[in-house]
Symmetry: C2
Subunit: 86 residues, 2 copies
Amino acid sequence: MLPQIVEAIGLVAAFCTTVSFIPQAVKTIRTRNTSGISLGMYVLFTTGTLCWFIYGLLSHSLPVTFANGVTLIFAGIVLFYKIRYH
Amino acid sequence: MLPQIVEAIGLVAAFCTTVSFIPQAVKTIRTRNTSGISLGMYVLFTTGTLCWFIYGLLSHSLPVTFANGVTLIFAGIVLFYKIRYH
């Protein structure tokens, strides 16, 4: 396949997974309903995203640092509400 | 910092974000409670993970393909339940 198409698929992938936690954070802030949300998931995911962020900084990768910095903020908000309104 | 430490942080990051959707999928299957879960998040995240999976296949990256293949299964289960028990 054309390398431009492969690159475009990668960029769509990065965009979707990076911004996906924004609607979840907005919903959680508005409703404070975290009953269906798994604490284990958000502990693992936030830890993982923080490690990706540190890995990005240490390996001087701007895309890894930026994408995971954005995700970390919104996943962190959901984790905070899950613990706060458990 | 030592490159082995940087690599170890990256591996912990990959492990955490890959397996994080497993406890969410288990919780959702058991309780069928998806009220606090954002449909927008799971549509975006599952689309993104599918694109990462295709990108991994097309760019011949085993880690990208494998990690996103695993995440796709469990995020896909949560999306299915969210739509089914909306």
